[in-house]
Subunit: 407 residues, 2 copies
């Protein structure tokens, strides 16, 4: 039989490593003949737009370069499958593509939304008695997938945001005047990535002085008090704020939503740091700067976590074995056995448990005042950012694997 793999959702530094995991593990099994890549996630299966991965990945050097290339080699999508009870046509197209190419297992690397696709496809195949396995491989910098200790992509993003906050802290401390720097970090619904900036404490860094997560109620009035209190101790105050933090519109005299809603119904947020910086300027009147870490936090492969990349490849590889063992409708997960030493086990759970669910940052890991995280959060994050990739460089620039033509 053949297998197919696709990547979905927002880019990360580790999603190509999971692709390599599937590919490199699959070629070891005699029963798997061809590993297909579906272009632009599930859209590739709908449109019968698939490629034989061995025509793209030809050498060990290719594998190495793909591992250090961020974003999705095979493209991505934000396509939401309709319920098959209502609209079966898309499912028929997918089934047609899979059967036509004798594909017996489909691996979908993605986040919460992609697991919705895995779950629906699995249920459809079950109903139709179609023997095609569907396996979910987790990926998201947001780290908000339930039943897994963490998600591939998170560790590298965490390493980037912490490293960058440290550098911003040095940068902001040069002048002899008080200042507030507000750094906005990704996290639609959850504060995992923002919380990860606290790992800097392990190296004695005090910054960020204030950390705000969307899991906690946010009051602008308390925020201003927090900043004033922090200014008593630090003349250059650094604030890490999750993009998902949403102040009461009445308190800020406006709405933080950009008004844009995606195919999964998620509202897109815009500019919480900018909005808060205006409030600080008005209420406190000191120098203030808003910084958005923007897409750099999900694609800065040059500072990725080696452990993250390694684990992403391992969990991709493990998924192949799970499919060959006959499982379907399952999502691969990490179980943390211990922190010291850091030991992780790869398992799998029913995708229906994971799909469309969100794993929030534990409220008990937020401090009493709601403006910092606890040592438990640091202990949790720290192992995930360990290790530096041995980057291949040419002309002073990291080499990336780029397809000569669009797929």
């Amino acid at each position: 039989m053949n297998i197919a793999v696709a990547q979905s959702g927002g880019p990360t530094c580790a999603i190509n490593a999971s692709l390599m995991g599937v590919f490199r593990h699959a070629v070891k099994y005699d029963e798997i003949k061809t590993v297909y890549g579906s272009v632009n996630g599930i859209e590739g299966l709908i449109k019968d737009h698939i490629v034989d991965l061995k025509n793209i990945i030809k050498t060990d050097e290719d594998v190495e370069l793909i591992r250090q290339t961020p974003s999705t080699l095979l493209g991505s999508c934000r396509y939401k499958l309709p319920d098959f009870e209502k609209d079966e046509s898309v499912y028929k197209s997918i089934t047609h593509t899979l059967k036509r190419h004798n594909i017996g297992a489909f691996f979908y690397i993605g986040g919460n939304d992609s697991m919705d696709t895995v779950d629906k496809l699995h249920r459809y195949f079950t109903k139709e008695n179609i023997d095609i396995k569907v396996i979910g491989i987790p990926k998201t910098i947001d780290n908000d997938l339930p039943y897994t200790d963490h998600t591939p992509g998170f560790g590298s993003a965490a390493k980037y945001v912490a490293t960058t906050i440290q550098e911003i802290t040095r940068d902001s401390s040069v002048y002899s005047i008080p200042s507030v720097t507000i750094v906005e970090i990704m996290g639609r619904d959850t504060g995992w990535l923002t919380a990860a900036t606290a790992v800097l404490r392990a190296n004695g860094e005090v910054s960020p002085h204030l950390i705000y997560l969307p899991e906690n109620k946010f009051s602008v009035r308390r925020f201003i008090d927090d900043v004033r209190e922090a200014q008593n101790k630090h003349y250059a105050v650094i604030v890490a704020v999750s993009e998902g933090v949403s102040p009461d519109p009445e308190e800020v005299g406006g709405d933080f939503q950009s008004g844009y809603v995606d195919n999964f119904g998620h509202k897109y947020l815009a500019g919480v740091a900018k909005a808060l910086s205006k409030i600080v300027a008005k209420e406190i009147g000191c120098k203030v700067r808003a910084i958005e870490l923007n897409v750099m936090q999900r694609c800065s492969s040059h500072i990725s976590s080696k452990r993250d990349i390694t684990e992403a490849e391992r969990i991709g590889g493990a998924a192949v074995k799970v499919a060959l063992d006959g499982y379907s409708g399952v999502t691969m997960v990490f179980k943390r056995v211990s922190n010291h030493p850091y030991i992780i086990r790869i398992e799998h759970v029913e995708t229906s448990l994971v799909a469309n669910k969100v794993k929030y940052f534990p409220l008990e890991w937020i401090n009493e005042n709601g403006h910092d995280v606890t040592q438990d959060a640091i202990d949790y994050c720290l192992p995930l950012i360990q290790g530096e990739q041995n980057l291949q460089v040419r002309n002073g620039l990291p080499i990336q694997f780029v397809l000569k033509e669009r797929l």
Copy 2:
């Protein structure tokens, strides 16, 4: 005798390396007893706030960590000296501090504005027959200092912006819909750093597809045409735009200036990428994203250019010799002897030639259509980003040198 050194202007990745150059070179000379650091640039001399550097930098490991720590160890300032003909009091304070501590030479590491300070101090000492040498050591990510081939700090910033544009290019290419990503890069008056993104071509990267510098007249109408043309070839168009690019306010229906003016009369710019993205959204209607590289482009030491850091230290060291040779009122400069092999010579020029002057990006290095740079620009920038720092890391994070107490 003793000497003093200070850092001024905006932070860079290399300014601490130049400080190390002065310090490590000075301790080799028997005639120099103490190397003082002036806290917050020239303000430290005015207020007699100076520190003995050997009380701060105690071990070789300290030196190594300071070298990989961005921003200014001794703080910075944006203080502009008054003309001594009009107001001599500040000069008297400075002279008092210098004489009190038996300081025979003062080294000022900074950009265009700091050279104004060097020039004025030198002229004052000459007029007053005070034998204190004043030497300027260049520093600015903007690379806009005349008479030097390039400025320390530029190479590291260039390496960061190019590396990041490459990653953003991968990130922006995942979806199957057309998009435009506009990346705003620092450069108040000059486009050197924005132009440096073109070094990616050396590795076969086509992006950035459009490059706009402030040296060239900018037309919003032509910009939209350029984007449309680029979209015929690339479905994810990447635009690198200098913050100093200022469209005709009549064309954009508003002003790009933030309204803030600093002590040197420089206007602060704000949000050209944001403004252009709104125009693209309105005129073309595709997915569009504005990214500000913000302070990260001047403080991302984790991806600094080894050549930049090495040269910064060398030029700092060379300044000590120049002072001991009896020169004053001079600024250290690089002269490029050749590109292949890359050979640089360290010389010095009269600071009066450099102070308050701007070295613009050559118009002949901008292509005819005004939306790209030529191979000459790439050949110029490429040697400056070479080499990777061997970063010292603890807990998965670059170690930085942080003073236990505020100076």
